[in-house]
Symmetry: C2
C-alpha cells in the first residue's frame, strides 16, 4: 500500500463547510468518551486511564481504514465485559500478567479483523441472526448491571454466576456503604431522569430541539465533574473508592509480550471478540448508513476495526468497537465525516496531558452508575416482543441466547446462539412444505387445494415442493409423496412442480431415481414441471432424466393440457370453497 | 407391553410355504455368519467366540422388534473397527477391563438406539448425507485393511495412524512369516477369485444361476474348514497364530459392570456407534425394502437394533448392526421373513455346543484375509465418481470424510463429515440464486432473461428470488437487488417474485422493511408477487404489508398487466436470442 493510499478519500475530498458540524460533534462525543472510556476500562478489569488511551489512536486508525462516516469507535460496554470474561480465567484482575494478556487479546482480535478484511470475509457477519445478536446484547447488559451493583452500593460481593452475585448483593444490602450508595444511586437516578426529561425541559426553557437533545447527552460528563467537585469539597476522597492517580501524558507505545502459550489460549476468545465487535459495529453502521442513504462496505469496516484494535493494543490494550450511544450522539450532533472522530480523539490529548489529575478523585460508584444506565439502554424488550409475535423460533432463539449468556457466560451464550440459528435453519429445511395443487379455474395458475378453490383431475396429481431437495429432507418428501399417492389411488401421472427447488443434492437425486423406479413398477408416470435452469443443467448430467417415466414440462398448465389429452378425463372439483 | 405384543406380526401371520426358502437362507447366511463372527470379534479386539455369541441372541431380538424382512443383523466390519477405536484408548486390548468396557459400550449403544426408537427419532438418520456415509465407510474399509495386514503377513507392526502402520508393514515385509503369509494370501486370492469367477464356473458346470451365486458365497466357510484341515494334517498349529481354545457351550448371561466413570467416558463413543450402526443398517434395509416394494419403518429399525445390541451386551459385548454382505446373501437365498434370521441364529446353538473345538486350529491369518476381502468390497469408487460428476461439493464432502477417517480416525472423520454436510447446506443457502425475469412472449410465464428470449419493460423490474429469506442470505439478496437497480436505472416498479420463498425469518423481514423504506425515498414502488400462503400469513402479522409502497399480486402476469397500465409504456425486447 502506498503512503498516498493511506490518506483516506474523505480527507482528500473534504469540504470545508462541514468543519463546524464535525467540530461540534467531536466536542459532544468527546465529552461522552471521557466518562465512558474510564468506565469501560474499569468494566474490563483494567486501569481507568487505559480507556482514555483507547479513545485516541484507535479512532484515528479507524478514520484511515474504516468506511462509516459517523460511527464512533472506541471502548464499548459489551466488549469490555467479554474482555473481563476472557481474561479473568487467565490471570488475576489488575495483575501485570492480566494487562499484558489484555494487550495480546486486543492485538489478536485486531489482527483477526484486519485479516478478515483483507480476505473480504465481510459476509461473516451473516453468521448471526438479529434475534441472536439482540438476545446476546440483552444478556450481556444484564450481566454488566449485576456485575456493577457491588461497586455501585459499596458491597463486597462474590459469586461466579449472575444469579449468585445478585443473591449476594441482596443479602449484603444492609452492609452497603452509605456515601458510596448515595453517590452511585443519585448519579444513576439523575442520568435516567435526564435521559427522559432533560431534553423536554431544555426545549421548554427555549433551547432549540437539537441543542436540547444534545445538552442531555452531556449529562454524564457534567455529573462526573459534579461528583469530583463534591468529593474534593467535602474531603471524601478517603471515605470512597476513587479512581486514584492517573499517569499524566500520552500513551507510550507498548510492544506486546510474545508468549506462545498465552497466544494459543487467547486465540479463541480473540476470535469471538473480534466477530462480535464486528457484528455489533456493523449493525450500528448499517442503521446509520441506511438513514443517511449511504452504502456500507463490510470489508472496509473489518479493516477499520482491525486497525483500531491493533492501535489500541499498542497503546494500552482495551478492545474497541463501534458504540451505540456515542454513534447516536455523533450523528445527531451532525458529524459529516470521519474527521469528527479524529477531532474527538485529538481532544484526548490535552485531557491526557493536563487534566488527568482532575479525575483522580472521581468515585468509582459514579462510573458504575454510568455503566449501569448505559447497559440498561441495551435491553431489547420490544425486539423480543416483535420476534416472538412474528416467528416463535426467532423468539426462542433470542430467549435461549439471552438465558445462555446469563447462566453460562458470554462465550457459551454466543456459541449457543449461533448453534441455535443454524439448527433452526437446518430443522426448517428438513421439514419441507409440500402442497397438493390444482388449477384456479379460468387461469393458468396452480394453487394449494387446501387454500383455494381449484380444479383437479382424478388421474393427475400435482405436488408442489417448496424447498430445495437435500439429504436432510428427501425422506420427508418421499414419505409425503407416498402418502399422497395412497390418498389419490387413481393417480396415473404424478407431476412434481419444482418451481421452488433451487438445488437437488446427490443424496436426493439418488432417492428420486429410486422413486421413479418404484413408480414405474406401480404404473405411475413421474413428470417434472417448472424446473429451473440451473437444476435442469445439473439433472441432465445425471441418469434421472434418461430413466424418467414421464416428461419435463415448462409449466404446470402445459403439463395439465398434455396429460389431460392422454388420459381424456373430464375435470372434477376439489378443494376449499 | 403385553407378552402377546412381543410375538411379532410376521410370526403370527407366517405362511408355511415360506419355510423352505427361509431355511435355505438361514443355512447359507449361517455359513457366512461363523467365519465373519470370528473375524469381526477379532477385529474389535475381542476373543473370537464373542463373535459367535453376538450371532445368536441379537438376531432373535432383532426379529422380535425389527421391521426389515431379510436384513441380516450381527457383527459388522465397520462397527467392529469403531469398537476397537473407542475402547483401545480406554483399556489394553484383550484385558478383562477391555472386555467389560466392550460390554458397557454395547449396552449403552443398545439403550440409545432403543430410546431413540421409543422417541420416534428415526429421522435422525437424515443427519448424514449419502456422500458422507459412503466416504466414511470407504475410509473405515481402508483402515480395516491396513490394520489387518500385519496379521495377514505374520508381521509385528505398530503405528498409530494408517500411513505409519502401512509404512511399517512395507519396511518389515522381508521379515514376514512365510507359512502365515502363504495361508493368508492364498485365502485372500481364492476369496477374490471365487467372487469373480466361481459363480460363472458353477453356472457353466450346470448349476442353476441362483445356486451358482449362492455356492460362491459359501467359499469363506469352505476355506476356513480347508485351512483347519491343512493345519491339523501338517501339524502347523504351533507354527502359526491360531484362534486357540474356544469355550464350548452357550453364552452365559453376563451382567455388565456398573462403573459410572467408565459409563461417562463411553457415552459419546456409544452414541456415535449407535448412530452409525443405525444409518448403515437403515441404508441396507432401505435398499432391500425398495427392491421388494416394502415400506420401511425407521423407528422400528431403531427398536430392533436397540434390542439386538442390548441382547449382545448381555451375551458377550460386540456391537451389532445390519451387514451388507450377509443381507445380500440372505435376500438372494430367498429369505422371506425374519424367521430366516432366527433360524440362522439357532444354527449357532449346535456349533457352540459341539463344534467349537473345530475352530481352535483356525489360523488368524485366514480370518484376516476374510476381513480384508470383505472390507475391500465396501469401497465405493463408483459412488465417488458419480458424486464428483454430479455435484462437486458432494464429491468434496465424500473425499474429506474419507481422508478425515484415514488421517484422524473414525470419530473425527464422521464429525468432519456431518460438519461438512451442514456447512455446505448453510453455505449454499447463503448464496441464493436470483434471476431477472421477463415474460415469454404470448404466454403468462416469466423466465430468466439470460436463458430465454423474453419481453421486459423499461420501468418494471421483475426479480425472482430462488431461496427462502434468512439472516444468512438477506445481505446477498439486498446487494443483488441494489446492483440490479443500478443496471436498470429507469425502474419505477420493482416486483419481487417470491414463488420459491417458503419462509422469511425475522432478520430478513427487518431488512425488507428497510429496503421498502429506502426505495420509497428513491420513488420506486416495491411489489410482491406469487407469495405463498404460509409466507403471506406470517407477513400479515408484521408491519411490512402496512408500509409496503406497492401491492401484492397473485402472479407475475397479473402484476405486469396492472403495472403496465399505470406506466403505459410499450414493451421493449431484452434477453438471449
Amino acid at each position: 500500500m502506498r503512503v498516498n493510499n493511506l490518506i483516506p478519500n474523505w480527507l482528500k475530498n473534504y469540504r470545508r463547510q462541514n468543519l463546524p458540524a464535525d467540530l461540534t460533534a467531536a466536542l459532544v462525543s468527546g465529552m461522552l468518551l471521557v466518562p465512558q472510556g474510564l468506565a469501560y476500562a474499569l468494566l474490563a478489569g483494567l486501569p481507568p486511564h487505559i480507556g482514555l488511551y483507547a479513545s485516541l489512536l484507535p479512532l484515528i486508525a479507524y478514520a484511515i481504514f474504516g468506511s462509516s462516516s459517523a460511527m464512533s469507535v472506541g471502548p464499548a460496554a459489551v466488549l469490555s465485559l467479554m474482555t473481563l470474561s476472557a481474561l479473568s480465567s487467565h490471570a488475576a484482575v489488575g495483575s501485570a500478567e492480566y494487562i499484558s494478556a489484555a494487550i495480546m487479546l486486543t492485538l489478536l482480535s485486531g489482527l483477526f479483523l484486519f485479516a478478515m478484511g483483507l480476505l473480504k470475509l465481510g459476509t461473516l457477519s451473516n453468521l448471526l441472526s438479529h434475534p441472536v445478536i439482540s438476545g446476546f446484547i440483552s444478556g450481556a447488559a444484564a450481566l454488566i448491571i449485576v456485575g456493577q451493583l457491588p461497586a455501585l452500593l459499596g458491597i463486597k460481593a462474590d459469586g461466579d454466576t449472575a444469579s449468585v452475585k445478585l443473591l449476594h448483593v441482596v443479602q449484603h444490602l444492609p452492609e452497603a456503604h452509605l456515601p458510596t450508595m448515595l453517590f452511585g444511586v443519585v448519579t444513576a437516578v439523575l442520568l435516567i431522569a435526564s435521559r427522559i426529561w432533560l431534553p423536554m425541559l431544555l426545549f421548554r426553557l427555549g433551547a432549540p430541539k437539537q441543542i436540547a437533545r444534545l445538552g442531555a447527552r452531556l449529562m454524564p460528563m457534567f455529573l462526573v465533574l459534579c461528583a469530583i467537585a463534591l468529593v474534593h469539597q467535602l474531603g471524601l476522597a478517603d471515605k470512597l473508592d476513587i479512581v486514584g492517580d492517573i499517569p499524566a501524558g500520552l500513551p507510550q507505545i507498548t510492544v506486546p509480550d510474545f508468549n506462545w502459550n498465552m497466544i494459543y489460549r487467547l486465540m479463541l476468545p480473540a476470535l469471538i471478540i473480534s466477530l462480535l465487535g464486528f457484528v455489533e459495529s456493523l449493525s450500528i453502521a448499517q442503521a446509520l448508513a441506511t438513514r443517511r442513504g449511504e452504502r456500507l462496505n463490510a470489508d472496509g469496516e473489518l479493516l477499520g476495526l482491525g486497525a483500531a484494535n491493533i492501535a489500541s493494543a499498542f497503546s494500552g490494550g482495551l478492545p474497541v468497537a463501534g458504540s451505540f450511544s456515542r454513534t447516536a450522539v455523533n450523528a445527531e450532533a451532525g458529524a459529516a465525516s470521519p474527521l469528527a472522530g479524529v477531532l474527538s480523539a485529538l481532544l484526548m490529548i490535552p485531557i491526557l496531558l493536563f487534566f488527568t489529575g482532575v479525575f483522580s478523585e472521581l468515585p468509582l460508584t459514579v462510573l458504575a452508575a454510568i455503566i449501569i444506565v448505559a447497559a440498561a439502554g441495551l435491553f431489547d424488550f420490544t425486539g423480543f416482543i416483535h420476534n416472538w409475535r412474528y416467528d416463535r423460533t426467532d423468539g426462542l432463539a433470542m430467549l435461549f441466547t439471552f438465558l445462555g449468556v446469563l447462566l453460562f457466560g458470554v462465550e457459551v451464550g454466543i456459541a449457543l446462539g449461533i448453534g441455535l440459528s443454524f439448527a433452526t435453519l437446518i430443522w426448517r429445511s428438513s421439514r419441507p412444505h409440500i402442497a397438493v395443487v390444482g388449477r384456479v379455474p379460468g387461469t393458468e395458475h396452480f394453487r394449494n387445494v387446501l387454500r383455494h378453490d381449484v380444479e383437479t383431475q382424478k388421474e393427475l396429481l400435482f405436488l408442489r415442493i417448496d424447498e430445495s431437495l437435500f439429504f436432510s429432507n428427501i425422506s420427508a418428501v418421499e414419505d409425503r409423496l407416498l402418502s399422497e399417492l395412497k390418498r389419490h389411488p387413481d393417480t396415473r401421472h404424478l407431476v412434481l412442480i419444482l418451481s421452488s427447488v433451487s438445488r437437488i443434492d446427490g443424496t436426493a437425486l439418488e432417492r428420486l431415481q429410486q422413486i421413479n423406479k418404484d413408480l414405474r413398477s406401480r404404473n405411475i408416470h413421474l413428470h417434472l414441471a417448472e424446473v429451473k435452469g440451473p437444476v435442469l443443467d445439473r439433472l441432465s448430467r445425471s441418469k434421472l432424466l434418461e430413466h424418467l417415466t414421464g416428461r419435463i414440462f415448462l409449466s404446470s398448465y402445459i403439463a395439465e393440457l398434455a396429460l389431460q389429452n392422454e388420459t381424456k378425463q373430464p375435470p372434477a372439483a376439489e378443494g376449499a370453497a
